[in-house]
C-alpha cells in the first residue's frame, strides 16, 4: 500500500539559484500524479526533493516540509532511510554494469545485508513480474549482465530494482523519454498496474502521457506550481491562463 505525500512551503536552492519557490501540494496515496511543465521549470528538482536526492549536490539547500505518510522526511529521518521508502527511476536507464540481472534487482537488499537466498529469489521474481520483464529474462537471470539488455528492458530492470526494496512511493523522472514508442507504452501500462500498490509521481514533458496514466496533474512554471488538479480538469478546463497556454502549445 502506498502513502500520501504532503508538501508545505517547499523552497529549494542550488547555490544562489532559487529553483523552487513555495511549493505546496498534496499527492494522494495509491494514485499516479503527473508533473508537467517546460524545460527548466523545476519539476525534476521537486521530485528529487521528495527522496532527498537533491542533497547529493553540495551546494543544494532546502526549506519547508515534506511529509511522506506521517514522517517529516527532513527532520525525522536520514536520507538513507528515506530513500529506502521512496524509490526512484531515472531518465536514462542506469543498471549496474558489473552485475547480472538477478544481482541488479537484488542489489538494494543484498548490499544492505539481506542474505536469505530463497526469499531473495522470490523477491527478484516478483519484482521482475511486477515490472513486466520476467518472461523476457527469466532464463538469463544470472548469466546476462544488466547492461546487455535493450533500452526499454533496462528501464524495466531499473523499475524492478526499485520495487524490490518494497517502497511506499515510486518517483519517476521522465522514465520513458529516452525510449522508443513501444517501450514507452509498455512502461505506461506498467504504471497503470503499479499505482494500485504504490504512490507514483511521474515527471513528464509529454502531455499525452500525463493524460494517459495520471489521475492528478501539477503544472510547474519557473519554479512555482501554477496549478494542481485532476488531470481531466487540467487538460480540458484549466483555471490558470498560463496552464492553458502551455497545454495548447503556445510555449514550452
Amino acid at each position: 500500500m502506498g502513502v500520501g505525500i504532503e508538501v508545505a512551503s517547499l523552497n529549494a536552492w542550488y547555490g544562489t539559484n532559487h529553483t523552487l519557490q513555495d511549493i505546496t501540494l498534496n499527492i494522494p496515496a495509491n494514485h499516479a500524479t503527473a508533473l508537467i511543465g517546460p524545460s527548466g521549470c523545476g519539476k525534476s528538482t521537486f521530485v528529487r526533493c521528495l527522496n532527498r536526492m537533491h542533497e547529493t549536490n553540495p551546494i543544494a539547500r532546502v526549506t519547508g516540509t515534506v511529509r511522506i505518510g506521517d514522517l517529516d522526511i527532513y527532520s525525522d529521518a536520514q536520507p538513507v532511510e528515506i530513500r529506502r521508502r521512496v524509490g526512484m527511476v531515472f531518465q536514462r536507464p542506469n543498471p549496474f554494469p558489473t552485475m547480472s540481472i538477478y544481482d541488479n534487482v537484488a542489489s538494494g537488499l543484498k548490499l544492505n545485508g539481506y542474505s536469505n537466498r530463497r526469499a531473495l529469489d522470490e523477491i527478484v521474481e516478483r519484482s521482475l513480474k511486477n515490472s513486466a520483464l520476467w518472461d523476457e529474462v527469466k532464463d538469463d537471470l544470472k548469466s546476462k549482465s544488466g547492461a546487455s539488455l535493450s533500452g526499454g528492458q533496462q528501464q524495466r530492470l531499473c523499475i524492478a530494482r526499485a520495487l524490490a526494496v518494497d517502497p511506499e512511493v515510486l518517483l519517476m523522472d521522465e522514465p520513458a523519454s529516452a525510449l522508443d514508442p513501444v517501450s514507452t507504452s509498455k512502461i505506461e501500462d506498467l504504471i497503470f498496474q503499479l499505482k494500485s500498490q504504490y504512490t507514483i509521481v511521474i515527471v513528464t514533458h509529454n502531455m499525452q502521457q500525463a493524460a494517459r496514466v495520471a489521475e492528478k496533474t501539477g503544472f510547474f512554471l519557473n519554479g512555482r506550481m501554477v496549478e494542481f488538479d485532476s488531470t481531466h480538469k487540467i487538460f480540458t478546463n484549466p483555471s490558470d491562463k498560463r496552464t492553458e497556454d502551455y497545454i495548447t502549445g503556445r510555449f514550452g
Partner: protein
C-alpha cells in the same frame, strides 16, 4: 612589390614549410632510434641468457659460468609485496577521496598537485628517507626498509590513476546506488569502485612496473644480497640492484646476466603499459553507456 619579389617570398615560405616538416620527421626518427636500439640490443644480448636457469638458480661465485638471478626475481617480488601493502590501500583511498568526496574542492586540488609533484621527486630521496626512518634506528639494512621506500613511492601514482579511473564512472551509476537507499560507503565501494576496478587494477599494475624497475631507493635500504634470502629483516636481492652490480663488474658472464635481467624488466613494463592502454581505450566500463 614587384612580381619577382612576391614569387621569391612565396618560394621562401614554401621552402621553410618543407624544411620544417623534414626536420620534424627527422626529430621523430632520431627519437625512435634509441628505443629501437635499446630493444634490439636487449633482445640480442639478453635473450640468449634467458633460460630456465635464470629463474631458478642463484648467482654462482665469481669465475664460475652459469647461474641465474632467481634470488633477485624473488627478492623483487617480496619488495613489491611489501610496497603494495603500503601503497595500494592508501593510494586507492586517496583516489576515492579525490573522486568521490573532494571533487572541485581546494583541498582536492592541493592533494592532486602535490601528488603530481611527488611523482617527479628523484626516487633516491625516498630511499634516503626510508634509511633515516628505519635503517638508522635498526642498525642494519633490510628488505622491510626497501619495501617501505617503494611503497611510499607508489602512493601518489596509485592515487592519481585511481582517481582518473573513478572519474570515468558515470554519475548515473552513483545516483542509482544512492537512490536505492544504500549508505554512501556501500555505494562507493560496492558500486563505484567495483565498476572502475578493471581500470584501478591496471593502474596499480603500472605502479608496480614502475616501482619494480627502481634501483636507487634500494641501494641503501634493501642493499642487495648475493644469496637466497626472503627474510624481511635482512638485506634482500632485487632485480634492478643485481643488474646494477653486474653491469659495473668486470666479468662478461655477469654482463650477460645483467642483459637478461634487463630484458625481464622491460618485458614486464611493456606488458603493463600495453594493458593500461588497452583498458583505457576500451573504456573502463564494458557495456555501460
Amino acid at each position: 612589390m614587384s612580381v619577382n619579389q612576391t614569387s621569391f617570398r612565396s618560394k621562401w615560405r614554401a621552402l621553410t614549410d618543407r624544411t620544417v616538416t623534414g626536420l620534424a620527421v627527422l626529430a621523430t626518427l632520431l627519437v625512435i632510434a634509441p628505443l629501437v636500439a635499446i630493444f634490439v640490443y636487449l633482445i640480442l644480448k639478453g635473450a640468449s641468457s634467458l633460460n630456465l636457469a635464470f629463474f631458478t638458480q642463484v648467482p654462482k661465485p665469481v669465475g664460475e659460468v652459469g647461474g641465474g638471478m632467481a634470488n633477485a626475481v624473488v627478492g623483487s617480488a617480496v619488495l613489491l609485496a611489501i610496497a603494495s601493502v603500503i601503497g595500494v590501500p592508501i593510494g586507492i583511498g586517496g583516489g576515492i577521496y579525490l573522486a568521490e568526496f573532494g571533487r572541485g574542492t581546494k583541498l582536492a586540488n592541493a592533494v592532486r598537485f602535490t601528488a603530481d609533484v611527488l611523482n617527479g621527486v628523484p626516487s633516491i630521496v625516498m630511499g634516503l628517507a626510508a634509511y633515516s626512518l628505519i635503517v638508522l634506528p635498526q642498525g642494519h639494512f633490510s628488505a622491510f626498509s626497501g619495501g617501505v621506500a617503494l611503497g611510499i613511492m607508489m602512493i601518489p601514482t596509485v592515487c592519481r590513476t585511481s582517481e582518473e579511473m573513478l572519474l570515468m564512472v558515470p554519475n548515473a551509476i552513483r545516483e542509482a546506488a544512492l537512490g536505492l537507499g544504500l549508505p554512501n560507503w556501500r555505494a562507493v565501494l560496492s558500486i563505484t569502485v567495483k565498476t572502475a576496478s578493471p581500470g584501478i587494477i591496471t593502474g596499480c599494475m603500472l605502479a608496480f612496473a614502475r616501482v619494480a624497475g627502481e634501483t636507487a631507493p634500494l641501494i641503501f635500504t634493501a642493499l642487495g644480497n648475493s644469496f637466497w634470502s626472503t627474510s624481511l629483516n635482512q638485506p634482500i636481492a632485487a632485480l634492478p640492484l643485481q643488474i646494477y652490480v653486474y653491469a659495473l663488474s668486470p666479468y662478461d658472464d655477469w654482463h650477460r646476466l645483467a642483459w637478461a635481467g634487463a630484458l625481464v624488466l622491460i618485458a614486464l613494463i611493456v606488458l603493463a603499459v600495453s594493458l593500461v592502454r588497452y583498458v583505457t581505450s576500451r573504456g573502463v566500463l564494458k557495456g555501460a553507456s
